[in-house]
């Protein structure tokens, strides 16, 4: 039995470019996320410090959620442009 896609897909010349961008953005987000995890594990009292009226823990948490969305939009922008240019 075949293992091909459920629908026929056209050749994607932008695949390599998109993968490179994806890996770069993945590294950026992973470092940001593990920075959060390491501070929580190593120096949790730092997370109780207040900046801009909120604890660092809350600020960093909100940042991780919003940053994920912003990176996703940027990634999509570059991928869509590459698909238009290369396909």
């Amino acid at each position: 039995m075949g293992h091909g896609p459920a629908v026929k897909l056209a050749k994607d010349n932008a695949a390599g470019y998109k993968a490179r961008i994806g890996i770069s953005m993945f590294i950026v987000y992973t470092l940001t996320y593990f920075g959060f995890v390491v501070i929580n594990a190593v120096n949790p009292t730092l997370m109780e410090k207040v900046y801009f009226g909120q604890t660092l823990a809350v600020l960093y948490g909100f940042f991780l959620i919003i940053f994920a969305f912003v990176l996703a939009i940027i990634y999509n922008h570059f991928c869509t442009a590459a698909e238009a240019r290369l396909n």
């Binding site: 459920a6 897909l9 929580n40 594990a41 604890t55 959620i65 994920a68």
Partner: protein
């Protein structure tokens, strides 16, 4: 806790279930091919699929488990939200488009697309089944806790209802109905949760959580005690179990007044006397009967909890903030003192008493980690356990079979990418809401301290039965939808990967669909059984385990196939085997499983609960070593790495 059922809640619940079933039967008429059953024909719009991603992902764990954990442990519960969302970045940046490009119906297809290897087909199918079953347990437990306040039925009835309804859904229409159910449910869940959060902010914070004046909150008493003639004396009470008793040794005393017993938390004062804070307690006798605050459950002596002790604004104590904005809510909360609840066990003879006692805690302490996870003055092992869990959450999402199969329901790689972004937006927004839902439950006197899974629906109940009914029905639909997706993924693993590909049974298209439906029924039965025996565990905690198994068994194989040209079929199979067995093995000997076996957690062979930090590297190492050893036999022949 004793709940009163509302005809409206029951009516809405029945309408929701009938709607879901009706949609399934309607779509079933259009599902005759294997492609239609397993991948909805590959023609779902990316926006619909994105919201359906949110529907799939915002399962009982997110809506019930995370909110419940935030309500009782503050920021540590929200860490699950952050970890779950971060996992989507792995899915978007590394997995979404290649999965779409490589696969057909199942995750096994993608892994096996370049090898056509029997060992990959077998291992990937077993892994899909194991992860799906692990993920099914918390969904079924969530269903069980929902029906108790909603329909007044015991836990096992809820589990059975979900099992039967979902099996009917999956056995009729497959992925198309699952997608549309998830779309509607995901969208409605976002809307209704936003409404509840809006109402929480409008109500603000107060020291009297009387639910807008509609329900009186139990006033927890504080008594004074002195030691006279060598024994504790409390005015107006008879001391049943004093300082020298098992209760006393644990820091509590048991008193009696007018024949009603109560348990109090002891605090020694500087003058040598004691102050006693009222506690809640559940006694389980040797015959399995339980007494709540000394009386049967039906007597209603056990109270909902969750209140603020002090609110300070600009150095002055106030009783009520009035309506606040989202940031002001967190600001005021941070400057308040909130009463959390500790838990201790006291064993006297054959009876075990679980005592829940008040722990006034500064809001700023609640809004940082450390109340559930041991990170303050923690041992290396405690920190390892925490990091391991956060690693599992990060790596698990992109390895969940029921999420991965959703990439086959859209027509192109761009659609796979865009639907992931829609999913991230919807899920990220919901996870911001969970912080407010959890803290709202913590301060509005709605928590059932014996089972915190119902905190979000009970918070909705504090705003009226209509909102509660809608939210609870949605939560139930959440479980229905997620369980449907998991059962489709499992059925695909059995019928498509094992029977058709691995065993080479060469079934017709119709035969494949029939085999999938029969598999769905068997897996549904197993899920019902597991949902009943895991009653009482926090559903988000259970999902943490499912993520650890998925991340260990599947993610190393997915990533290495995409990004390492020397990957071989044997390496992939070895990676799945090592990841699956090591993660499952470590979970089965973990302290929390020891409790499920009826043993003491400190007697477990290992001292941590989250296996990911060991099993994920082990899986990667197995893949690399076996691939290097088997280079000539199965090196990748096609273009190989995508990067």
């Amino acid at each position: 806790m004793v709940y009163t059922q509302s005809p409206l809640a029951i009516g809405l619940f029945i309408i929701f279930v009938l709607f879901v079933l009706g949609l399934s039967f309607f779509l079933a008429r259009r599902t005759t091919s294997a492609s239609g059953y397993y991948a909805a024909g590959g023609n779902i719009h990316w926006f619909t699929n994105g919201i359906a991603f949110a529907g799939d992902y915002l399962s009982a764990a997110s809506f019930l488990g995370i909110c419940g954990m935030i309500a009782t442990a503050g920021f540590d519960g929200w860490m699950y939200s952050i970890g779950y969302l971060a996992g989507w970045m792995v899915a978007l940046f590394l997995v979404a488009e290649p999965m779409k490009r490589l696969g057909k119906y199942t995750f096994t297809d993608a892994l096996d697309s370049k090898f056509n290897s029997k060992s990959i087909q077998l291992m990937a199918a077993i892994s899909t089944l194991a992860v799906s079953v692990f993920y099914l347990i918390p969904q079924m437990v969530g269903a069980g806790v929902l029906v108790q306040p909603l329909l007044g039925m015991p836990h096992w009835v809820g589990v059975c209802i979900v099992g039967v309804v979902v099996t009917i859904i999956v056995a009729t229409a497959g992925m198309a109905s699952t997608t549309y159910v998830q779309f509607f449910k995901g969208a409605l869940l976002l809307i209704c949760s936003t409404i509840v959060v809006g109402l929480v902010l409008f109500r603000g914070l107060g020291t009297e959580p009387n639910q807008g004046g509609t329900k009186e909150y139990h006033k927890f008493q504080t008594l004074s005690a002195v030691v006279a003639d060598g024994s504790l004396q409390v005015a107006g009470y008879e001391v049943v179990a004093g300082l020298d008793s098992e209760f006393g040794k644990a820091g509590f005393v048991k008193l009696s007044q007018d024949g009603l017993e109560s348990v109090w938390h002891l605090k020694e004062n500087t003058d040598g006397g004691y102050s006693l804070d009222e506690a809640l307690y559940v006694t389980e006798n040797a015959d399995g009967t339980k007494l709540f605050n000394g009386a049967p459950k039906e007597d209603g002596k056990f109270f909902a909890v969750g209140h603020i002790k002090e609110i300070t604004v600009d150095g002055k104590e106030i009783a009520q903030t009035g309506a606040v904005g989202p940031l002001e809510f967190l600001n005021r909360f941070k400057e308040s003192t909130v009463v959390l609840w500790g838990k201790k066990y006291v064993k006297v003879g054959d009876a075990t008493t679980t005592i829940y006692y008040q722990k006034p805690t500064p809001g700023s302490r609640i809004l940082r980690p450390g109340l559930k996870f041991k990170v303050d003055n923690a041992s290396g092992l405690d920190k390892f356990n925490f990091i391991s869990l956060m690693l599992a959450l990060f790596c698990g999402t992109a390895a969940l079979p029921h999420i991965l199969i959703r990439y086959y329901t859209v027509p192109s790689q761009a659609a796979a990418r865009k639907s992931t972004i829609v999913g991230i937006a919807a899920i990220g927004f919901f996870y911001i809401l969970t912080l407010y839902l959890g803290l709202g439950a913590m301060t509005n006197g709605v928590i059932n301290i014996t089972d915190n899974n119902m905190s979000a629906p009970l918070l909705a109940l504090s705003f009226g039965v209509v909102l509660f009914s809608v939210i609870s029905s949605l939560a139930f639909a959440t479980v229905l939808g997620t369980v449907s997706g998991l059962i489709v993924a499992s059925a695909g693993a059995v019928a498509h990967d094992l029977m058709d590909n691995f065993l080479g049974m060469n079934m017709t298209d119709k035969g494949k669909v029939r085999a999938g439906k029969i598999s769905a029924m068997v897996i549904g039965g197993i899920a019902i059984y597991l949902g009943i025996i895991f009653e009482g565990m926090n559903v988000s905690f259970l999902v943490g385990w499912a993520f650890a198994v998925a991340a260990s068994a599947n993610l190393p194989a997915i990533l290495m196939i995409l990004f390492w040209q020397k990957t071989t079929a044997q390496g992939v199979a070895a990676s799945i085997l090592v990841g699956l067995t090591s993660s499952l093995g470590l979970i089965l000997v973990s302290p929390d499983m020891w409790v499920r076996y009826g043993l003491l957690p400190q007697d477990a062979p290992i001292a941590f609960n989250s296996p990911a930090a060991i099993s994920i590297p082990a899986s990667f190492i197995a893949l690399v070593l076996v691939s290097l050893v088997t280079q000539k036999k199965g090196a990748m022949i096609e273009e190989g790495a995508e990067a």
